[in-house]
Symmetry: C2
Subunit: 389 residues, 2 copies
């Protein structure tokens, strides 16, 4: 059966939200997403919810919270997915499978996270729940510490790439300045990102504050429908390919600076789509830390292993470059409300493909890639999206 | 596309386990389940994991733990599902959708929970994460308190059914004495269940200790394959119907002693299967508390609302009765390791349908119903299983 298509979406402003919990955050995006699709609650056959939680809220059973905010959905089957920072993509894949299996024709995907209700130190520990705690939770600085180690390891093998990481941060901040949904909408400049300073300290050496994404609240929703229903709706974006590939959780059991699972997911998804990277107009990739975006350039095939810095130096991933990456500003500017992130990445790509990206718009975009990962490249998801009209 | 079929399984002994975490619990069932199916790790196209967690362990990202215990699965896509006490069924449904959508041909489903590593009081609070905490978490006795309220409400409307609840407990303990995987394998007798005593105190009036399921560690696994692969394997059990129906989380917003979502799921699944309840040989139902099993008799259509006691008095759900319910001993005897429960219920039913249920075996069983619910009948799953040969 043909894959379902994206027919509508909504996106909250990411940042420190006044919404008390995921219940309110989800209620902010569900009715607008349905309205955007031109559908009503009665059209929805199932709901797929992405929330990481793991201690952000004592209220779990998050799938049941959608109907608490949108009571017309009270009897609609709702299911929660979790796959660390790829939780949103996990929910999208389950929704696509639901429609693909013929169990329903319209599915609602909601990703959300309320991160700022707990103290910062607690946030760090909650996020380490997505590392292999037995070996990795002792690292200073939480997940930033883990990616700091990856960066140090990478620099040792391939040379110091601090300047290129700063250029990635600067690019994503520059792009994010045009994104009305982003947590931080400010072009901070390359020099600020490059120089260690009081306002840009080393958080987890060699990573500076500007090399790290933000702790944010937020929600995003997608409406998916089968091709026949999508044909009658105002907009449609197809999944020309989509793949998930995993890698072993413990970093000690693999080469931690080769994102092998990401490489597999990219190669398989492009293969399914019958495309190469050169066919894509843009990519939204998972820049939880700048070093992740650099290694992802290599995993997606823009550069050979260890050569990611060339992509930066040549400006290939800048707006106007060979393959613009993170025109939305990425996690770096948008913020990274864990459960919402994967959904948000698909929303941002779909906006581009439907000419609804406003100041972020890349004219004429028709094919986009999305890469979302859980943990340090453990659960890896690639979607190849295509505008249908 | 035709639904995938159950082709193998494994089940740990439920109870207080020496396994330190879900990682070890899952590792106990994954290789035996694959061996039981006659398949190897390389045959598995995707893994679906059911763990509730929500504080039982600081290690989250549970989908990534399967490969930590069974490294041959390192690159296999793995995804976690959560839907409170129906978490196991959520994982099964996602796996069926995955195969139904043609994304793969073999899926591994693993449900697990390690509950006894945290203090008892903390366990109660963790489980309340599956209630609507804003209104319901203040209840004394945790989830038992919530179902105690339901029982009191039910008695008020329909008469005191304490004796019938005791008969349900006694039946399930009697059945569970024959289940080598059960936490408690002892026929404690009707009188013990009926009489409030030092060893059987009121836990959450009117519920006695014997009206409540146990806190247990455990894991269960299912291997699912498409019909073509299943045809070449030693055993196969088909899903003739399966449905999920939800109800609003907050008990204050509905009639709490009518399990409307359960009624819908049963009616839809039987309708899809083209069967009536009378066609089934046995049912495994969600007896987290005896009052739940009583109300479920009404939701599945064995009795009219308020008439569930007649089912008990007539002995319909006893072994040898019109529709034996919980021949495995149910959650009552087996224990209720949250993420494992839904998977376990399907394993127990599949054993019966393949004549592999040992001392629990109901001779000639060919059709079974499974009902698994999350929260107080919030996320409701019904499967109609059929032996294929």
């Amino acid at each position: 059966m043909a894959e379902a298509q994206i027919v509508g979406w909504a996106h909250s402003r990411f940042g420190k939200s006044e919404a008390a919990s995921t219940l309110e955050l989800m209620a902010e995006v569900v009715p607008p997403a349905l309205a955007h699709a031109g559908l009503g609650a009665a059209d929805v056959d199932a709901i797929f919810v992405g929330v990481f939680n793991n201690g952000f809220s004592a209220q779990d059973f998050q799938a049941s919270l959608v109907a608490m905010g949108t009571p017309d959905l009270a009897h609609t089957p709702a299911t929660r997915l979790e796959n660390a920072c790829a939780t949103g993509s996990a929910a999208i894949h389950a929704a696509l499978d639901f429609i693909g299996a013929g169990r329903g024709r319209v599915a609602l995907v909601v990703g959300a996270e309320k991160m700022t209700a707990v103290p910062t130190a607690e946030t760090g520990d909650i996020l380490l729940g997505a590392s292999y705690r037995t070996e990795e939770a002792g690292v200073e600085g939480g997940f930033a510490g883990l990616f700091g180690r990856l960066a140090a390891h990478y620099f040792q093998r391939h040379g110091d790439r601090s300047d290129e990481l700063a250029a990635i941060a600067a690019k994503n901040h520059r792009n994010g300045a045009a994104n009305p949904y982003a947590h931080m909408q400010r072009d901070v400049g390359y020099a600020f990102c490059r120089d260690v300073s009081e306002r840009n300290p080393l958080v987890a050496p060699p990573l500076r504050r500007t090399d790290c994404s933000l702790v944010s609240d937020g929600a995003a929703a997608l409406v998916l429908a089968d091709a026949e229903i999508a044909a009658d709706l105002p907009r449609a974006v197809a999944f020309r390919g989509r793949r998930q590939a995993n890698d072993i959780l413990a970093l000690s059991r693999r080469d931690p600076i080769v994102f092998e699972g990401a490489r597999r997911a990219w190669s398989q998804a492009l293969g399914d789509a019958g495309l190469t990277l050169d066919d894509l107009d843009l990519v939204e990739t998972h820049d939880c830390f700048t070093i992740a975006e650099l290694i992802e350039y290599e995993a997606m095939g823009l550069a050979a292993p260890g050569e990611g810095h060339r992509v930066v130096r040549e400006g290939w991933t800048e707006r106007g470059g060979r393959l613009p990456v993170n025109l939305s500003g990425g996690l770096k500017s948008k913020g990274h409300p864990i459960g919402a992130t994967g959904v948000s990445m698909h929303v941002m790509a779909a906006m581009q493909l439907c000419d609804e990206a406003g100041a972020m718009q890349l004219p004429g975009a028709s094919l986009a890639g999305v890469f979302n990962m859980g943990g340090a490249a453990v659960a890896n998801y690639v979607s190849i999206l295509e505008r249908m009209r």
